[in-house]
């Protein structure tokens, strides 16, 4: 295993060296030099954003052609047939290189929807969409949340009604990330209003160019529009686009939710990697003459402890994976901590900046932090809110009892 991993790592490096340059070290900073962006969500103009998506697709294609497009996928669909550890290792190595940001394709589509299609879709859908997605041609989105169904995802009300060989979908999805770039979406719909709510859901793969699918950008508090509302009006979907059983969509949804990409080893990329670096934070304190403020120094130390200890936690999880041991609660804990650490960092920096955080003085590396500050509330919500994550940790890891189901909740299921 160990030897195999080393050979794989060497192969990854050969591939990357042949195609891209090494990334500049984001954690080391020379004050005033380079890009000072701290954007977590994209803050690009539509034209630039389309170009960025194009670059992401191109890089994905290169990966695919070289055997790194779908490391864990079965070879018959263009995958490499290796383990999740290989994938984590690949990610860790790739983060040292200056590659296009492929988040638009990978976080939801390749990370969550792809494995769900693989597990539940009929053969022709797999044959068509899986290679297309992993080659970078098709982008996928997750049409789960609705205005009335967020944490309580089993309350979806978008209806799907059978009509001959087709189904007709009507309803509204919301907060759908990357829908504006997507060719397909995985939708949860209600097919049986009379069954208990988890049992009346069916999942469909919806080609986004089907008549009746309308994507409207939803502006988020950062100012950009990474997510969308998606309206489904008399959308006709053939039955062969169904995943899993009729009324069996909850199982499909669980596959998607469980494939939420492990954060392990992949926290180092993007502009925000620098947000948690001791170098950058201390350079900022020097530049703002807050260097010897004792209270701020204490907070800096606590923040760095969180960041460094989280790295230790990830390193241990990775080592467990490499030894073939299933990871424990580290992964959920690590996701929770990632959001919390970035939030703490953003607020710490705001306090260091003082008034410079409320209006742009033009000084490098100061006001730019607002891009991160404004993104942090989302980190406590997306992919399962902090509260839901804590419920899961308490119930699944510590064995605490579930919440009793109230009469009202029972009635809600009728």
């Amino acid at each position: 295993m160990e030897h195999d991993m080393q050979a794989f790592a060497a192969e990854v490096r050969r591939f990357l060296d042949a195609h891209v340059a090494k990334a500049p070290d984001r954690t080391a900073v020379t004050w005033g030099e380079g890009d000072d962006s701290m954007a977590y969500f994209s803050s690009l103009a539509p034209e630039e954003e389309r170009e960025q998506v194009q670059r992401a697709r191109e890089w994905q294609r290169i990966r695919y052609e070289n055997g790194f497009g779908w490391i864990t996928g079965p070879p018959e669909y263009g995958g490499r047939g290796l383990t999740p550890v290989h994938e984590l290792l690949y990610d860790a190595i790739e983060s040292e290189y200056d590659v296009a940001d492929t988040g638009t394709l990978s976080v939801i589509g390749l990370g969550m929807i792809g494995p769900t299609i693989l597990a539940h879709a009929p053969q022709p859908l797999k044959d068509h969409w899986l290679p297309a997605m992993y080659r970078g041609d098709a982008i996928a989105c997750q049409l789960f949340s609705e205005p009335g169904a967020g944490s309580d995802l089993a309350s979806v009300t978008t209806r799907a009604v059978r009509d001959g060989e087709d189904w007709v979908l009507n309803g509204q999805k919301v907060w759908t990330s990357v829908a504006q770039h997507s060719q397909i979406g995985l939708a949860l719909t209600r097919t049986n209003p009379d069954a208990p709510k988890h049992r009346g859901i069916t999942a469909f793969l919806v080609p986004m160019d089907t008549p009746g699918v309308e994507v409207r950008p939803l502006r988020q508090m950062t100012g950009g529009a990474d997510f969308n509302e998606v309206f489904l009006t008399d959308v006709r979907i053939p039955d062969d686009h169904r995943l899993g059983e009729v009324d069996g969509g909850w199982t499909v949804a669980l596959t998607t939710l469980m494939n939420e990409r492990a954060t392990v080893g992949s926290q180092g990329a993007g502009p925000v990697a620098g947000a948690l670096s001791a170098d950058r934070l201390s350079a900022l304190m020097r530049a703002t003459w807050t260097w010897d403020d004792r209270a701020l120094r204490g907070r800096l130390a606590e923040l760095l402890v969180d960041v460094l200890a989280t790295e230790h936690l990830n390193a241990r999880a990775l080592r467990k994976l490499q030894a073939g041991v299933a990871p424990g609660p580290e992964m959920s804990v690590s996701k929770l901590l990632y959001g919390q650490n970035l939030t703490k960092a953003a607020h710490f920096v705001s306090d260091v900046l003082g008034p410079r955080a409320i209006a742009d003085t033009g000084q490098w590396g100061t006001y730019a932090w607002n891009e991160l500050l404004l993104a942090t509330p989302a980190l406590r919500i997306l992919g399962g809110t902090e509260e839901i994550m804590k419920n899961i940790l308490a119930e699944r890891v510590l064995g605490l009892p579930k919440e009793p189901v109230t009469t009202a909740a029972k009635e809600g299921r009728q």
Partner: protein, 371 residues
């Protein structure tokens, strides 16, 4: 030498079984109110049956030659069980000071006895302020007419200082802070027990009045030795703390599963559930920090000093947090003398402050990071 995971698990369960038998709560409570605050018979068994004192002492000095990773496993278990024994003082502080001094004669003289469990020892650094800052040491050592060293001064917070057979003292000479060995029964040495917040860790005030002493390492090297020992001791303490924190979490979760109010287990109330989840997050973080630091120490990695600082902060915080929340989850019963929760609270607070406390360890970490 570093054991693999399954060997570590074996070590852990051997130590846990031993401590469950020999250091149950009743034993801890009895010992914390007696003198000496440990049971010599248990100490002897711990040495003979499990060879724990010699675990991390090099083979050439009679030990088993393991390192900080294995020692960490043992200390996690001792922290869980609140074992009353001079293990931390002897094996962590004193033995490591001897090793850090590089004085092979002194090591050969003292370590075999420590490894065999025949000698208990301690390290006397802090004075009235409790600080480990070499600049604040005022005990002094001078040579008499025959060239023999005599130490004079006062030391406080000396762990297991009334019972140690061997006391290593940092005292000032013209060359600076220097490490000396003093016999526990030497003339001129008096040790009195200090009243302690955490009665499971005995501490003493020592008065040294021209006590005959042996120089350890080189004259003036005390500051360097202290820094090395402090890094090691922080990691060792962190293991003890993370073991204690894990125990607090387990106790709280167990109670939350079984205690009923309003006709349902309190753990089904989200306020309680989320408290337990927050404790879990802190415990996972603490364990990762302390075990990684031990691993880096064993590897002699350049990242070790930073990791030691991280472990000290993360584990101090996690232990204090879980000790407090454990009492909260228990409600009124958690505030009684009879319930063990306060023993962990006391240990958590006193460990957090042992080497100076938050303001000091924050600055130490920033210093290790070069900030």
């Amino acid at each position: 030498m570093t054991a693999d995971e399954s060997a570590l698990d074996e070590l852990r369960s051997a130590v846990r079984n031993f401590l469950e038998a020999k250091s149950p709560e009743e034993a801890v409570r009895k010992l914390m109110e007696s003198e000496p605050r440990y049971d010599p018979a248990v100490w002897a068994q711990l040495a003979e049956q499990l060879r724990l004192p010699g675990l991390a002492i090099p083979e050439e000095y009679g030990g088993d030659g393991f390192g900080p990773v294995e020692l960490g496993v043992v200390l996690e278990e001792m922290g869980r069980a609140l074992l009353c024994a001079p293990y931390f003082a002897t094996v962590v502080l004193a033995a490591q000071a001897l090793l850090a001094s590089g004085d092979t004669d002194a090591c050969a003289r003292h370590l075999p006895g420590i490894a065999a469990g025949a000698t208990t020892a301690t390290l006397a650094v802090a004075e009235n302020s409790g600080s480990w800052d070499p600049a604040l040491i005022s005990a002094r050592a001078v040579r008499d007419g025959e060239g023999a060293w005599k130490v004079t001064g006062r030391k406080s917070f000396v762990i297991d200082g009334t019972t140690a057979d061997l006391v290593l003292v940092v005292a000032r000479t013209v060359a600076g802070p220097t490490l000396f060995a003093v016999d526990g029964t030497a003339p001129g040495l008096t040790a009195e027990s200090m009243e302690t917040l955490d009665a499971t860790r005995a501490m003493a005030r020592l008065t040294l009045d021209a006590v005959p002493a042996t120089l350890i390492g080189s004259d003036g090297a005390g500051g360097r030795i202290m820094a090395k020992v402090l890094d090691f001791a922080s990691v060792a303490l962190a293991a003890e703390q993370s073991g204690g924190a894990r125990r607090c979490l387990e106790t709280a979760a167990e109670y939350a599963r079984t205690r009923h109010q309003f006709g349902r287990p309190i753990g089904s109330f989200q306020a309680v559930k989320h408290k337990c989840a927050d404790m879990l997050v802190q415990v996972e973080l603490a364990e990762a920090a302390s075990r990684e630091a031990a691993r880096l120490a064993a590897e002699g990695s350049p990242d070790y000093p930073v990791a030691a600082g991280v472990a000290h902060v993360a584990c101090s915080r996690a232990y204090m947090f879980t000790a407090m929340e454990n009492i909260q989850v228990h409600g009124g019963i958690g505030f009684t003398w009879e319930h063990p929760a306060h023993l962990y609270f006391r240990r958590a607070k006193s460990s957090q402050l042992l080497f100076g406390g938050p303001a000091v360890y924050h600055e130490r970490l920033l210093d290790r990071l070069g900030i």
